[in-house]
């Protein structure tokens, strides 16, 4: 089974729209946080440090794909469960499932499920403002698998 981490989110009044439910871009916001938490919980040093030691700036997002199954509202606590679903040569696909525990003890409700495609990037040697995708580093793959 792949390495899996969880991140907890408390839904606030201001996260919700006039329909009284979570305004959907907030789910993307929480998945982004869960993505960074995943790397840190797996033992990957923060990007700040990796930039200094190895030039790796971060993992910019190339693509997101999210399905919304149930709505959520303020006062609820949600759990984002994250793992890497695919390790390709130059990109990874992270999968996030956002669930809500049920009072009746049944399996948690799946609120939404999203996949993020991300690349590892370094700064170009000749033009520091340009970022270049690099091969997924083996040691990071090791830590996060």
């Amino acid at each position: 089974m792949p390495r899996t981490t969880t991140h907890s989110v408390y839904v606030t009044f201001g996260d919700c729209d006039p329909a009284g439910i979570v305004f959907f871009p907030n789910f993307s916001r929480w998945m982004d946080t869960a993505s960074l938490e995943f790397f840190m919980q797996c033992g990957v040093p923060p990007w700040r440090e990796l930039e200094k030691t190895r030039g790796i700036v971060g993992t910019p997002l190339l693509e997101i794909h999210t399905k919304f199954l149930k709505s959520a509202t303020y006062g609820e606590t949600l759990t984002v469960t994250t793992h890497v679903e695919e390790w390709r040569a130059k990109v990874i696909v992270q999968c996030h499932r956002i669930t809500r525990a049920r009072a009746d003890g049944a399996a948690p409700d799946l609120i939404c499920e999203g996949r993020e495609t991300r690349a590892f990037v370094k700064r170009d040697e000749h033009d520091r403002d340009r970022l270049r995708a690099i091969a997924v580093p083996d040691d990071i793959k090791q830590l996060c698998s």
Copy 2:
């Protein structure tokens, strides 16, 4: 050619993250606004009114799928161009392309492109808190095609 509308966005400092570029959930936020603008510019009455006259509450989001091609930053003006790509029996797929004009007069840069799958819903007659997907209304399809 399908009916197409545009919506303009001025990127602000607070829309950007520590990398100095637009924090990506904001693109979803702008596509959501462009989606509503599309219907209104096509002549569909606001949901508030449609709920009273026909019980149609809105078009909740079932799925989003976005590809990010270039970054954008504050001080830039972006254009969201929107049309409906697919009219299925009970759902529609809206396509949004976010572009940035170029100073050199070349074709605008494509920043990101997203597809939103949405359903038209009414309140259930017996349980007003439940929403039910309905067939896409013909007259709305007419106005928006």
Copy 3:
């Protein structure tokens, strides 16, 4: 000493601006959440319920006044400490202090401090869309003092 509650906030990447620090309107967002948490932790029923039983819709904001002393950044955990500083006839003043614990065990750093002036409101009997400020309810004052 007045009744005091605390609310914990984990600062995320997306909460920060291009300067790498918390974009300040997020502090207002967190104080708003802490305000609602305060009432709930003091035992006040949720507004949803109070609206049904007593017509009290909530505590809209009349005024905010915040001083920013230090910056905060992502990865940090902040604490919002909340109490009611003034009980006037028709309004209350809530005080929120946002602090960050120090690794060296010294007193926490004060990041910012804000005061929110709020009124308790009911719907007008004749015009349900209008809200009217009411005298601060004695039992709520009792619970929250």
Copy 4:
């Protein structure tokens, strides 16, 4: 009369909360944008450039104080009107009034009014991570008065 600029805001669905009105931290967000627009419309070069030529990094916020008079909702266009109310030795006070035009041609409705206290800062010569408040530059005062 002091130099005054205006900035236009279109309120979106996602800017509003479950009460159907603008979630108040968004007003702070719009005032922040109006603050930057003010300097640029007055002819002050962007901070990016000023940092290179004169070391001035920007105008961090020390204090905000906002009064909320009427609510606003999505679909409305608001105007933020901005001027500098006080030029002190090391800080300035910017005043922002957010108004909404009326259909009946009467004076616009005042939605909220806020004051932001800001300092001009440079990086410390010996510790680049530290910012130091400087005297308000005369030429900038000239441009913005």
